[in-house]
Symmetry: C2
Subunit: 312 residues, 2 copies
Amino acid sequence: MYIHAVSHYLPTQVVGNEHFTQLNGLSSDWIIERTGILERRKAAPGENTNTMTIEVVKRLMEKTDLTTVDLIVGGTYTPYDTIVSIAHEAQHFLGIADIPTISISTACSSLLNAIEVVEGYFALNKATRALVIVSEHNTLYYNEKDTISGHLWGDGAAALLITKERQNEKDFDVKALITGGAAHTSKATTGVMMKPADGGVTMPHGRDVFINACQYMPKASLQVLEQCGLTLADVDYVLPHQANLRISRNVMNTLGLPEEKLISNIQYYGNTGCAGCAIALSEKWDTFKKGEHIVITVFGGGYSYGAMLVEV
Amino acid sequence: MYIHAVSHYLPTQVVGNEHFTQLNGLSSDWIIERTGILERRKAAPGENTNTMTIEVVKRLMEKTDLTTVDLIVGGTYTPYDTIVSIAHEAQHFLGIADIPTISISTACSSLLNAIEVVEGYFALNKATRALVIVSEHNTLYYNEKDTISGHLWGDGAAALLITKERQNEKDFDVKALITGGAAHTSKATTGVMMKPADGGVTMPHGRDVFINACQYMPKASLQVLEQCGLTLADVDYVLPHQANLRISRNVMNTLGLPEEKLISNIQYYGNTGCAGCAIALSEKWDTFKKGEHIVITVFGGGYSYGAMLVEV
């Protein structure tokens, strides 16, 4: 399984920390110290997960041919439409008939769960060229006046073409992928929630989310390395879910890896949910060098987690 | 791949057609003539897709052992929580650590898409015993005063244990399963929608949904029969998505099969979304006879479709 191309989209409106200083009395220094976030993007009126889906599909079409896509998997927990999902919107835009089309939510972990669903379709020989879209519109459902989490969220989307066979030398090789869930833990179903009809995004137990994210992302990272017979010495970059710069640094510390190997965009985009890692991968795509190993690891609400080892 | 056990749950409150006569001036005869629906169930205050998930899991535990479940896939387009999804809620309730846990939406087609995701995990050897939950809370998001679709919707849920290997002689054998999407058609993204933050469930182009459902369910049914080397003469029952009795009858007519072979519960539960077919399968489970062939076929908003051939 290979990642052939990636694209991303970020809304143009930049919301700086001063917005939350005025709104909630949170100083920019406090926000930066606690989260690493300097600014985030906010979708314009009329933008939503479906319009952002079309944007990233258009941008992916500039990089590669999508006319022969035979599977579409979308990921979002901030849906504009749960019936006409982002995957259906992409299929409609591309005009491709009769292919499996599915949208998922495992909260901020959906990127890796979506790719694992693709891996399954490839194993079944039911698909060979899959379009994966991750699109989050956190500001549709957040409460920006919430002093606990209002300042964390940003909007954005990304799209990836995943192929069963290598298309060319520049493809990124997915060497191992695991997903799991820690919903058995006591606060997994109350740590962070997104109830469309009952309060939107809330995070009553942010500390518990933080602790579990710091535990499960390194654990999953080590598991995929072991599956590939590699060690931490082989890792060139770690791309963790972009939830909080302190979580990302904690993951690097636990793994004993230097901060130069951390890929992070939360400073500029906030927590863009399941789109965060894919946006970062898209931004840095051209800077990776042949043979480098990237560990992408995620953790999300409901306490899903996962890790994927990619060889450039 | 086998269906080892099924359970279902229906809220206790029964809403008869007279409710919509009082509310919208629709006569019961008109509703019955147009949809076949006599009554439907409505979730009580405090009930939602997650609480119904726990109900069906409890009922499935009375039928079979769930302690060794190693994959959970949920399906819903009427989520109570998109972060703590129904799959996460089930994992939390069961207390099983570290298993893949994922929720999907392909509208009313999610049952078959969820089982196809399971099929993929089985092919990857990443799971062998999967819990599939389908849970819909249409009345959370519907507008009951909508004279076009308010009277159509009902609430309900079901759970299935799907296993890679046969557990015993009573298991139902999944002989073939296909899913597809017709989102390329012109009204696929506007026929029926569910926008949590913008009007809930609406059906501006019900006629287009009707026409495409009548076209794609027979087509998909014939495809799974062909994959198995079977013909329509081998079909004992057809269980179509429970959207409208006229659609179900149209599907039977197109296939040239008599109405005795139609399984239908829409009369009593309305359109319970992706849960409808699984509820019907659960209700009739003990009445099927060894060797019988059931075609389960679905069509949903965003114009996903699918068919599955099951041998009892």
